[in-house]
Structures are given as structure tokens and as C-alpha cells.
């Protein structure tokens, strides 16, 4: 008898033959499309120690942060790349190179206003998970049409088959006397550039 059969047999025995049919799930909580509040997203991101830039040029903002060298995923929008900064396109860069980079620039897939969360899904303009993990600075570009109000709408827009990384502020710990410390293992700094329709990017 395989362990699979043992475990499944035990569970079936525990539930009994006349297990009650599953009860219905009350879905009285908020779901369905609600208007996304960009100001709320900015407030929530800043509350979690991310720096937010609005109404700016991506290339100029990246240049001002001076991440040298700047790691970018293969499908990054070339208009976002600043002149005068060394740019390394990720074509399988080694972890050692990524770990000492000045920063990484990625796009995003979805952002959740209510929680101040950005989701990356590994698309060509977001790249492998590791590139937004090892550099100390992550610059993430979010378009206004990617912002949803709350978690249920975000899940509706995401493809679970992709590797997903949900980011709410920079890496943080509260393990020492509950003092919040930013930057333990992931990026210590998170900058978000919010692009609105009027930005013409």
C-alpha cells in the first residue's frame, strides 16, 4: 500500500461515508470592479517606505537615481533608459553580477491601491525573479491602467501559471524587539514611478 493510498484512505475514513455536502460560501465581501484610487496607492506605498514619483519622465528619474550599472529585463521599453548610465540587459546575467549592480528597472503587471502592492509576473518587461531581488535598488514603473482597487481584482488579472512576486514596500523585518528595519535580504530601496495618461510615455 503506497503512502498516497494510506493518507487518502485515512482522510476518507476520517470524513466518514456520509460526509455532509460542502456548505455554500458566503461571498458578501467586496468583490467585482471598483474604481482604483491612485492617491490611495501612493499613500499606501509611501506608508511602507517606498518612494513614489508622479508626473515625471522615467529616463530622467532613473538617471537622477544613478544606479550604475542598471540591470534591465530584455523587454524593457527603450524610451525609459537614461543616457549616461551603464545599462546591462539581462540575458542570463550571473548572480554575482546582479548582487553588486547599482539597481534594476522593471515594469509591473498589476498594482493594488488598497494594500500598496505591486505584482511582477515575469513578462519580458519584468524579467526573471532574481533581477528584482539581488540589486539593492528596485525602480518599478506602474501604469495607471494597471492599478486596481483591491486584492480580488488583482487576482482576476493575473495568470497563476506565471511565477508571481507581490511586493509591498522594500524588504523589512521586525524580528528584533519588533523594531522595523528596512532591507534585510531583498532590495533595501523601492522607487515607484507612476505613469498617468497625461504623461505621454
Amino acid at each position: 500500500m503506497s503512502s498516497r493510498d494510506v493518507v487518502l484512505g485515512r482522510i476518507r475514513a476520517a470524513l466518514g461515508d456520509d460526509a455532509a455536502p460542502p456548505a455554500g460560501i458566503p461571498r458578501d465581501y467586496r468583490r467585482g470592479d471598483q474604481p482604483a484610487d491612485l492617491d490611495l496607492l501612493v499613500h499606501r506605498l509611501e506608508d511602507y517606505k517606498a518612494v513614489v514619483h508622479r508626473g515625471v519622465s522615467v529616463a530622467e528619474t532613473v538617471a537622477a537615481l544613478a544606479p550604475d550599472p542598471l540591470i534591465v529585463p530584455p523587454g524593457i521599453n527603450p524610451d525609459w533608459l537614461p543616457a549616461g548610465v551603464e545599462v546591462l540587459h539581462d540575458d542570463g546575467l550571473s548572480a554575482d553580477v546582479l548582487a553588486v549592480a547599482g539597481g534594476v528597472l522593471t515594469a509591473a503587471t498589476v498594482a493594488v491601491a488598497e494594500t500598496g502592492t505591486i505584482v511582477l509576473d515575469g513578462s519580458p518587461d519584468q524579467g526573471r525573479r532574481v533581477i528584482s531581488l539581488l540589486p539593492d535598488l528596485h525602480i518599478c514603473v506602474v501604469r495607471a491602467d494597471q492599478v486596481v482597487a483591491s486584492v480580488p481584482e488583482a487576482l482576476t488579472r493575473l495568470a497563476p501559471q506565471r511565477p508571481l512576486t507581490w511586493i509591498s514596500g522594500p524588504s523589512a523585518t521586525s524580528d528584533i524587539e519588533l523594531n522595523r528595519v528596512e532591507g534585510v535580504h531583498g532590495p533595501r530601496r523601492l522607487h515607484v514611478i507612476l505613469l498617468e495618461a497625461s504623461d505621454h510615455e
Partner: protein, 472 residues
């Protein structure tokens, strides 16, 4: 006695961390004498309660989310075999390998063999209650494999040769100067000029672990959720050590209890709102990683999922107690419990402390192996109110107290009380006799002194109701 293999079974003895060396009252007595521990705990629970209350207050539909979470978990348990098979199919289709472990011994053996097959002698670990429960680190060490905890608190516990004391913040019993001393003594290559500032201590851990992350080829994790209809695994964390372990190594081995299932992808919308707010008091934890099997060119190219029973089927067999399996390990019940706040986690003797531990541990091990835990509660009900999936912990505690083998003196006393109350003359005599205990103070004589050791005997009234009535 022979047991049919397919019958629900409790977690085996001699392995893992579900049973303490002493009873709760004995361990609690020691903890109560530790002022530093009580100060740390009082500060921690008060702080987390305030943060959690504030962010829960921001949601207009918190109670509706709790009801949905509770119903989703009940529906999951009712369909567990079907959903586990669905998960297995979807993980396998996405390139993962699924293993089934009947208990801690088997899970440890599976993981050890998987690590051996890679030829590696070191694994990095994401904080995981399931692997703590089965004593995986001890099993790996015995097999000559070095497990390295990468969560800062777990690292503090591991370097301090200590045990975790809280589900969420395992090193909460340590203060900054103790942590500095542990780092100076145990962390290779640490700067001797280390101060006890939290940011400096965290920086030391970052430097120490970075090289390990970049050079270790196997990682072991738990899972917060597993989605049956997509085969997706979900881990919530804050530091990024989880992302490191889940992204950098070549092989990833995830150990999860069979109760961690969520039926559908969209159902995750309920738990992703409940867990961070109830747990760390954040709207969302800094990092959540989700992966489905393997993704070519991104992350581990070899993924193994170990599905663990280890007593869960026995919990499921108890119609009252099975809702303990709904637990999403947020630790909200610890932070509101007046008993936990004073004794801390170690007194419970299990990796699952606090109110949820007082019901989960005795059910996983069989109540005779943790007979004092159902009494490690004042039954005040604060844990029920705090639970984001509405587990009725007080009712399970009362239910389990009835399963505990009772000492002979207590049974005799209860039988005598029942007999006396059934006989009016005896009852009146007993009430008069009770007044005499005023002479004895607030302690009962042996063999009943155990009861008054931790309680004051109530003052008998100056006049019984019967006497008062007789005079009217």
C-alpha cells in the same frame, strides 16, 4: 494491537516537536518567574494587537471576509481527498513531483533522500511551521546535511541553540543585547565591534547570509497556501529570505500539511486579505511568492512537493476538533491570550503555542500525550474573536477536556459533588460545612490541594440562601 493502515493516525512519538518534556503547569511556573520574558512578551503582544486592530479597522467587510474564510475552509476539509488529487495533478502537469508522507518519519526520509540525490550537503530554509513540527533540521543533521535557517528570527533561534517561542516572531523572547551576544558568539566572520542596534544586527545577518544564498543549490520551504485548481504554491514573508530560497537554488523542496489547500485561484482573495492583517498587522506583507511547478529559465528547475499527514487525519476524524485544521498560522490568538502573554511559547512544549496550540497539539499527538494543554486556557474567548477564520477554540478546549484521562481524586470529587447535589439534606449539610473552611484559609487539604495551588478557594457566603429563606 494492529491498526488498519487506512485509519486516521496521530503523529508518532520520538520525532518532531509536538510534545514537551514536562506538563504545561510545570513549564509555565518556570516561565512566570522570568521577568525579562514577560516584559518582552507584554510589549510584543500589545504592539501587534494595536497594529492589527488598526488595519483591520480599515476594511469595511472584515466580518464578511472571516465568514467566507471559515466556510471556504470547512468546504475544503469536506472535499479534501478530491482537492488533494486535483492539486497533485496540476503540480505534476506543471513539472513538479508530488510525494505523500504519512508521518514525520516518512517526510524526513523523503526530504533527506531528495537532498542526497542532488549530491549537496547544505540546504537553505524558509521559516516553516511544518518542518519545525516534524523536526526536519534534526533529521537532516543526522544525515550529515546542514540546514541553515534564513529568516532572521529563526537564525537567532538556531544560532542560540534555542527553540522558537512564537509562530510569527519566533525570537520574541530575546532582546537586542541577547541577540548581539548570540551573533558575536556564533556567527562566522561577524564584526567584533557589532552594536545592539536592530539595523546593525540585521545588517550583520544580511552579510552572513548573502554568500550562503548565492552558493547553496537546494532550498526547503513550507507553504502558506496551495491552490488545488491551478497547482500554485504561495509563501508570504517580509525579509526577502523567502524569495532568495524560492528563486536562487536549483532544487526546491516544499513540505506542506494536507490542510493548507485552497480550492480555487480566485478563493485566494479571501485569505490574502485575512492573513497579513490578522498576523503582522500589515495591509500586505512585503513579499508574497507564487509559483506553479517549474518555469524554464526562472527559478528552481526541480520542484518537489511533500504532502504531510502526521496526525492531521486524526484531527479530521473529530467532528468538533477538526476546525483546528482551518488555522492559517497567523498567531492572532497568541497575541490576545492572557495565558500566552504570561507564559510565552516554550511552556506549551510544542511548535504550536498559544490557544491554537492548546487545541492542535493534543489532537495531532493524541490527547493523552498533551493532556495538560486543553487546560492551558482561561476560556475567556478572546482567541475566538481574534481568529480570522473563526475557529471556535474555546469549544474545542472544553471538548478536549472531556477526552483527557482525569485523575482519580478529581473523578471522585466530581462524583461526590453530583451525589450531594442530588440529595437536599446532604447539600444543606455541605453548605454549613463549607463555612468551616474559613478556618482553613484559601487552601484545600490533600488530595484536593492541587486545585487550590493555582486558585483561591472562594469565600463562602455568611448566610446560605436556604438559611435566609428559612427565616422569611
Amino acid at each position: 494491537m494492529s491498526t488498519f493502515l487506512g485509519m486516521p493516525a496521530t503523529a508518532p512519538r520520538g520525532v518532531g516537536n509536538l510534545r514537551g518534556d514536562e506538563s504545561f503547569p510545570a513549564a509555565a511556573r518556570k516561565a512566570l518567574g522570568n521577568d525579562q520574558l514577560r516584559r518582552n512578551l507584554g510589549h510584543a503582544t500589545t504592539t501587534i494587537r494595536a497594529k492589527s486592530g488598526a488595519v483591520i479597522g480599515e476594511l469595511p467587510d472584515w466580518q464578511e471576509l472571516r465568514s467566507a474564510g471559515s466556510a471556504l475552509k470547512a468546504a475544503t476539509m469536506a472535499r479534501l481527498p478530491e482537492l488533494l488529487l486535483q492539486l497533485e495533478e496540476n503540480v505534476t502537469r506543471a513539472g513538479g513531483v508530488v510525494h505523500w508522507a504519512a508521518d514525520a518519519n516518512e517526510a524526513n526520509r523523503i526530504v533527506t533522500e531528495l537532498v542526497r540525490a542532488t549530491g549537496e550537503q547544505r540546504v537553505i530554509k524558509v521559516k516553516s511551521m511544518a518542518t519545525q513540527e516534524i523536526g526536519l533540521n534534526e533529521a537532516l543533521e543526522e544525515a550529515g546535511i546542514e540546514p541553515i535557517e534564513t529568516d532572521l528570527a529563526e537564525l537567532i533561534v538556531q544560532l542560540g541553540n534555542d527553540k522558537p517561542s512564537h509562530i510569527l516572531v519566533p525570537a520574541i523572547h530575546r532582546n537586542r543585547s541577547e541577540i548581539r551576544e548570540i551573533f558575536l558568539r556564533e556567527m562566522p566572520g561577524v564584526d567584533p565591534a557589532l552594536t545592539d542596534e536592530p539595523v546593525v544586527l540585521a545588517g550583520a545577518a544580511r552579510r552572513y547570509l548573502r554568500e550562503t544564498f548565492l552558493s547553496t543549490k537546494v532550498a526547503v520551504s513550507g507553504a502558506n497556501f496551495a491552490i488545488a485548481d491551478t497547482g500554485t504554491l504561495v509563501v508570504l514573508e517580509s525579509e526577502g529570505n523567502g524569495r532568495m530560497c524560492l528563486t536562487l537554488p536549483e532544487t526546491l523542496i516544499t513540505v506542506m500539511g494536507i490542510e493548507k489547500l485552497v480550492p480555487t485561484w480566485q478563493d485566494l482573495e479571501v485569505f490574502l486579505q485575512l492573513l497579513p492583517r490578522a498576523s503582522t498587522g500589515e495591509r500586505m506583507n512585503p513579499y508574497t511568492s507564487m509559483w506553479t511547478g517549474v518555469t524554464p529559465g526562472d527559478g528552481p528547475q526541480s520542484f518537489h512537493l511533500v504532502l504531510l499527514d502526521n496526525g492531521r487525519s486524526a484531527v479530521l476524524a473529530d467532528e468538533v476538533g477538526r476546525q483546528a485544521l482551518h488555522c492559517i498560522r497567523c498567531s492572532a490568538c497568541l497575541n490576545v491570550c492572557p495565558v500566552y502573554e504570561r507564559t510565552g511559547g516554550h511552556a506549551y512544549g510544542s511548535v504550536y503555542p498559544g490557544p491554537i496550540g492548546a487545541v492542535l497539539s493534543p489532537q495531532l499527538t493524541g490527547v493523552e500525550d498533551n493532556a495538560s494543554l486543553p487546560y492551558a486556557s482561561s476560556l475567556c474567548g478572546a482567541c475566538f474573536d481574534a481568529c480570522p477564520v473563526k475557529i471556535d477554540i474555546p469549544s474545542i478546549l472544553v471538548h478536549l477536556r472531556n477526552e483527557v484521562p482525569h485523575p482519580r481524586t478529581e473523578r471522585a470529587a466530581m462524583a461526590a459533588a453530583a451525589y450531594t447535589m442530588d440529595h437536599p439534606k446532604l447539600y444543606a449539610a455541605a453548605q454549613h460545612a463549607a463555612k468551616l473552611t474559613k478556618l482553613a484559609g484559601h487552601r484545600l487539604p490533600p488530595p484536593l490541594n492541587g486545585w487550590t495551588a493555582s486558585r483561591d478557594l472562594p469565600e463562602p457566603p455568611p448566610e446560605t440562601f436556604r438559611d435566609w429563606w428559612a427565616k422569611r
